[in-house]
Symmetry: C2
Subunit: 288 residues, 2 copies
Amino acid sequence: MIYGAIEAGGTKFVCAVSDENLTILERVSIPTTTPEETMKEVFAFFDQHQPNAIGIGSFGPIDVNPLSETYGFITSTPKVAWQDYPFLNEMKKRYDIPFGWTTDVNAAAYGEMKKGAAVGKSSCMYITVGTGIGAGIVVDGKVIHGYGHPEAGHLLVRRHVEDTYEGTCPFHKDCLEGLAAGPAIGNRFETPAQNLPTDHKAWEIEAHYLAQALVSYTLTVSPEKIIFGGGVMKQKQLFPLIYKEFEKLMNGYVATPNLEDYIVPCQLEDNAGITGCLLLAEDALNNK
Amino acid sequence: MIYGAIEAGGTKFVCAVSDENLTILERVSIPTTTPEETMKEVFAFFDQHQPNAIGIGSFGPIDVNPLSETYGFITSTPKVAWQDYPFLNEMKKRYDIPFGWTTDVNAAAYGEMKKGAAVGKSSCMYITVGTGIGAGIVVDGKVIHGYGHPEAGHLLVRRHVEDTYEGTCPFHKDCLEGLAAGPAIGNRFETPAQNLPTDHKAWEIEAHYLAQALVSYTLTVSPEKIIFGGGVMKQKQLFPLIYKEFEKLMNGYVATPNLEDYIVPCQLEDNAGITGCLLLAEDALNNK
């Protein structure tokens, strides 16, 4: 049995195939240009390996509602060439096999739950903080899809008292992503985020926004584990600042695990998404 | 087959029994005083009817984590007599039958999904706005329990620009409950909420806070339906104000159903909770 995986990101598509133990046999990275160009290479890869099922975790927003006419589409993405692209349909036309279909961050959350930081749990949240902020959620062992999929990176947050930066989000200006994704940190201090010293004020402000979002997520879905990925979260000095701020904002209202066990870095690092996709391929085959 | 239900609220316990079609055969309302007094009457009711399973929807916070030592307890409630009360254990000691156990608002969400405003959906959110604000969530046909249960009424919100009221929440001062539950509306304008005219500024401020919370919930769990219950939501002029504000805040970022179909009043009204509890009793019996 061969499982296939596509982690479709805004800058690159990672495609992989594994054996039935989820050991990766081969992987390629394909630049995200236009559907024509990118998908040609995706097809070439899977034509060669003939997987029995493929799990897809895609950048979005995507349509995850099986009752919708545009189920399986990438929808209102700012990447113009990919707007309204019927991704899943095109894959199904090419390969008559079962597919898993979710967001890139849901796939990463699923990967971390089954093989990473949340092994043994039945719920978790995965949050990536990089050029954008995205969140995936697993509840009761399954990725969350409701009417659509979570877009929790755009949560509305309260401003840090010392922060006057207007925010970068084209939809909401100063939502979480607008104030706390990598570009916002860089713009606020006119220095790329990774060049700011670890004791810079920037990290206190960043922790304020992230902790606020985690309090909201905890109050809303109460996951057993919150897992951070993405470039910004490589700044490990953020974690203690987030614990402190989370504690202050929650003020003992609901019980959580010890914060050091509750809010953690991802374990699978760059493999979280692809692992989740392989697991979704396995599920798709078992449920077909 | 007889199903039993307990909707355990902060002011009264409603107990009911139904036949297997969920038709209620008898119900009683018992004041919430101390566990000794209240539970004596609860036991008297069920001793008489001998149900085959009982579903409990309780005020909280409660412990819903089956792995916890205090599973089935009411935990840190401000009602001192009920703090750390082993509710489910006491019921199990008395009756050797299957039990369902969740929050009052989760039970109401489940009732509305199976028999009310969200029939045919697999996910929904139920929000009650009264003396407090509570929210229950059903995802993929099941009420959400993670590490704990949702307490989404305490979401941190941004202030309405004209609102200087400090907020009533003993934990967070100006969280959603602190700014938008019935007592906050009344205190802000020194007039009981129900006496304020329908075109009073109060409702615009109220809609601002509720819409903000709904945007956060939608971005986080993307339910197929959001259902409002509780005394404050009998002010029907709130609904169009909420639609307007929701639209403004979301700014087209994620697709939702038409707002008039998405954000609706509850259908079962005062029976949502008890119906959900009966359904949980039925589930408990089927899964035992």
